[in-house]
Symmetry: C2
């Protein structure tokens, strides 16, 4: 196999109570990547469409991730990477993670899978380090593994796959304003009240229980964030109003996707999700805010092979 | 039914990463209680053996818990409560919780179960409020429900039952020094570094996953506490040495039970648990510290009816 075409999915990280440790994988939105062996024995980004991003390997998240993998192997084969970006940079649904994860997944396949999918996470994290200054795993892990991923710890790196719920739908609303992950991190306080931390870990523990027991209502009741959301939500236009709309229309929960500006509503089933989608559309149109909306199932596979 | 005899189990709360939200129920150690209807239409603590504790209803944890239940019902029946304390007060394995939980469980049974077991938790919490100034649920919940209990939230009160692992053994070492819960709480800092809080909730989420997937090793790797243990462990004689001994002899994890001074070692199977028990015994004997040791399975039932 010399060439592979992939779907590299968008992801929603943090998920309210799971700040920095939890993420899930989307089905309805993602990049397309074509990765092929080349005879030049060099790693090259040959083409990027859909976004204006650097082609230089060391300035591109796919490039640095791929390079981290190849360096670990001492591999001197060359690869060409072509990316069709459908996920907007800075949207808060793992745009850099999708490219990073896709690159390492594709190259690993073409090399005969020297690494397990879980082992690829640390290479893709190098792309995140380039993109945001912080080698976080809560987008690249679910992009690679599918469903929900838990970052148990960074030192040592340990990522767990958590199950999903079949009728779960995620609606992502992306207000077309720019918000850099780096800036969005900088406004977070570095100390938290112990009482709030206890609430947060109680909710996260309950959310994990909800995933195993397939309890949609408990999942919804657990999607709370008293620590990050009160600070970050001020950067998102009409956050409180959207949250109230989601709740009034039957969503299980609502919160910030990653570091924003995208927000997500979790819903049980298509009917509720469509209703919330319509309400969000009408609300933002009324306010004259440009936006994208993505309605998606949870993607259990992670990266998908489209052709090889 | 006019009379009931109960086993009211000891419990281990906090469990490292689960500070204030997690607890589990022991099998090998607990109080015995006899509760009977009386014709005096008064609530009375008639006898306490094994410990010097007040018989006045409003000064006794069993008394105030029972009264909270009876007040909620507007019930004017009278009950006599007799307690044989086997759990030492101030040990850190839920001595007050056992009496409080036993009292409300027994009276609820004698009244024909107007409340579900989960609903009894809030009454038993009143006993905890009397004992420690803080109506916490992480001992009374597992005492009543068995296995592991998660306090998802206090406002509103929501308690989840989590599964246990069949070969799990808990060894509790109680150094016979006095340490009041109230004092042990007062040394905890009220703010924590966000990075430490994130580590803690990553570990707790992983621990919950380990309970559902029956993963003993993951359970062990998750029993970490970077927030409370470094502060509280200084009050416990030779904490670090005991932790190293537990690890060297194959325990899955080791930490402070409740607010101490008891410590616990979680082990897989009886052989490892017995080995750790012998090591702890010899170590504390060498140091001339008096102690109790309790080796126990996880109790899946909670309070047990011995006779009725």
């Amino acid at each position: 196999m010399d060439k592979i075409k992939l779907f590299a999915p968008a992801t929603v990280a943090n998920l309210s109570c799971g700040f920095d440790v939890l993420g899930c994988c989307l089905d309805g939105v993602g990049d397309e990547m074509i990765i092929s062996k080349n005879s030049a024995k060099k790693l090259r980004i040959t083409k990027i469409t859909g976004q204006d991003l650097p082609l230089e390997v060391d300035k591109n998240v796919a490039g640095v991730s791929a390079e981290a993998l190849l360096n670990a192997l001492g591999e001197n084969q060359g690869f060409d990477i072509e990316i069709k970006k459908n996920i907007k940079a800075g949207s808060g649904i793992g745009s850099s993670a999708a490219s990073a994860a896709g690159a390492v997944f594709g190259i690993n396949k073409l090399l005969g899978e020297p690494f397990s999918t879980n082992e690829l996470i640390k290479f893709a994290m190098e792309g995140e380090r380039l993109a945001s200054g912080n080698a976080h795993a809560d987008n690249v892990a679910p992009a690679l593994l599918g469903d929900f991923s838990l970052v148990k710890s960074y030192e040592p790196l340990e990522i767990l796959s958590l199950p999903s719920l079949p009728e779960l739908r995620i609606l992502v609303l992306h207000p077309l304003i720019e918000l850099k992950t780096r800036d969005s991190r900088s406004i977070i306080r570095q100390n938290v009240a112990l009482t709030k931390a206890i609430s947060q870990w109680g909710n996260l523990a309950a959310l994990v229980s909800a995933l195993y027991t397939q309890d949609y209502e408990l999942l919804g009741r657990s999607l709370k964030d008293e620590i990050i959301e009160p600070v970050r939500s001020i950067l998102i236009p009409y956050f409180d109003e959207l949250k109230a709309l989601a709740s009034a229309n039957g969503a299980l929960g609502f919160g910030i996707s990653g570091s924003g500006p995208s927000v997500f509503a979790m819903c049980k089933g298509d009917v509720v999700a469509q209703k919330v989608k319509t309400e969000f559309q009408e609300f933002y149109q009324d306010k004259n805010i440009d936006f994208d909306l993505h309605l998606s199932k949870i993607n259990s596979e992670g990266i998908k092979i489209l052709a090889q």
